[in-house]
Symmetry: C3
Subunit: 262 residues, 3 copies
């Protein structure tokens, strides 16, 4: 079955809602990408907050519009806080999103993520190796990088989505967004995005925030992917390398709505 | 009572002293903004150092010219280290500054910050919601963002300054700096500063460093606010979004003295 | 004895190998510079991964091509993880590199680093004060900054290299790379590099990654220094301050090979 191509008009429409609602997004993410993640959410008009002590994270998960859990630099203490926050989010019906960084390579975090799936994430965003590993079809990966293509992981993504009752995003040159029944594809972006740390992690945060929107969640999540792909393409056309890509990317996200409305 | 407008000539004069002394500034700040905070201090000519293990933080608080405590991503372990450092700073008469991030929303950090006040901070820098909460007039806030204007929090800032024997900075479109008796206002800046993570936290670090200077502390702290407002205005005029704002802002801080001397 | 000047032709040749092998570099580094470190490695074509929980770090140290240990924001928990990773790297013959940030000033980390030396690092990279302190000729330093020149620390660097059986890099206006017998010098760079946080820490990560290359390790490490000096010079010529230096520096690293081949 050929996935449907996600519509840019829909993405622009969703962005308008995103900027209006400005989801308060509780990010429990890795140490490396916190600043870039916050700046990505701010550029798009969301309101990020990083709260990590177990007691506080648990309290904040009920105040926030959405929660992100990214296991990139997992520690025991952080795992305790993440688990507490996901539990409270689950009870409070706050949508939460999982980014299973490098679960194909490291056992401790794979068990942690598999256990978290029982708390029903609204979405999961990973690269092909991560999604394959989470679906029990471990292929490894190389550090935090994938060794598989997104399309090769699509059946695993669809199976995982059905099994966990969630939306799965598997990203690569083309992103695929699936709930196990419907699948849409999002193209765009640029290889330069892989030479900057945190573009995938920041996408997960935007996916998390988009789960707080009204309307069809699959479309909202695909719209989040579309914004990032569009901004990545604009930025890479302006950049002379990964250094100048970063400010250009945040500027492109910030100015995206105007261009879409033109 | 109308606050006095802080003088830019005074700010330029203070900046000259700041660059000459290059305060060694011990920053115990949140994970999200550490890099931007360090780069802000370096651009202005200070010498930042982030030291966080309780034993080390305690030793370093006596070596440093100034200490910053920012509770943005507070943890129990970090709270222990911050408390130890503040105690040593208090004993050694090293001026220390408190940034009470989101104390209006989260109980754990509010109690921690209220307890720290007994160790006599030299300055406190927060947004309106944070200052209201610390003064016991809780209005909440939305995550790390304020839901109040700075001027609405001015009476609370003045009361808090008198009660804690400190200088309170309440920031917003206009910043107010008060010791409970005198109050000065600092205008400038640009709304784009709120679309970049860490501008407020970085200001707190500059406020902390400015408390190491000679002369009138209220004037020194107001000068710190003025440098950031001026650089924010220059950068926003050059930027096409929050991404290009960041390098432009650091460049503006770095080049500020020359412009003032012209 | 006058150190030999490192050859740029050799540096270009080594860079080609670096980009081809793309060393998977396990970075256990301080909180402040993680993002900049990852972006520096990515710009040069390496594959960074930050893994910090003791159990995971230990597992990952055997998968990675190289390991970096930087004690900038050391904590007890992080020290445990670093020690475990260094032990596994030592057993697995994975080359690991030590960046002894501020060991001249803080006792806890100095003892930790001295103890780590028994696990035979492939390289040590520090400023003059740090190398002097590690060699037992403590001169202090000011916070994370050095109070000595690199050339003054050269005898200490040579003694440390012989004693620990490692390569020592002492950086400053000129960098010196020594194994205790041979010493090469690397010039270039720009004072603006000291106004941006993390250029030294990022160099240590590149040094760590370069230890995974084939060929003469001293030459490989000196090449790593050369890439950073060259990019620093190019970036400072383009920048109007430390803010614009950062993207220009990453772009220069990314585009370095092409320029060398021209």
């Amino acid at each position: 079955m050929q996935p449907d191509l996600h519509s840019r008009t829909l993405a622009a429409h969703t962005l308008h809602q995103f900027r209006t609602l400005s989801p308060l997004t509780h990010c429990m993410t890795n140490e490396v990408v916190q600043s870039f993640t916050a700046n990505t959410l701010l550029a798009l008009g969301a309101s990020p907050a990083m709260v990590i002590e177990p007691e506080e994270a648990s309290q904040f998960a009920t105040i926030a519009s959405a929660l992100l859990i990214n296991v990139g630099t997992l520690t025991q203490r952080r795992a305790t806080a993440m688990r507490a926050a996901a539990e409270r989010a689950h009870l409070a019906k706050t949508p939460w999103t999982l980014d299973p960084v490098a679960v194909g390579v490291l056992d401790y975090r794979r068990y942690f993520c598999l256990d978290l799936l029982t708390l029903r994430p609204a979405a999961i965003r990973g690269n092909a190796s991560e999604i394959l590993a989470l679906a029990g079809m471990n292929s490894g990966g190389r550090g935090v990088d994938t060794t598989d293509t997104a399309v090769a992981a699509l059946p695993a993504a669809q199976a995982l989505a059905r099994q966990a009752g969630t939306i799965v995003v598997v990203t690569g040159e083309v992103d695929y967004v699936t709930d196990g029944q419907r699948t849409v594809s999002v193209s765009g972006g640029d290889p330069l995005m892989t030479r900057v740390v945190g573009t995938g992690c920041a996408l997960s945060a935007v996916v998390a925030a988009s789960c707080a929107l009204h309307g069809d969640r699959l479309d909202n999540v695909a719209s989040a992917c579309s914004w990032m792909k569009q901004a990545g393409k604009i930025a890479s056309e302006q950049a002379t390398g990964p250094g100048s890509f970063i400010p250009a990317f945040l500027d492109a996200l910030y100015n995206l709505e105007m261009q879409e409305q033109a």
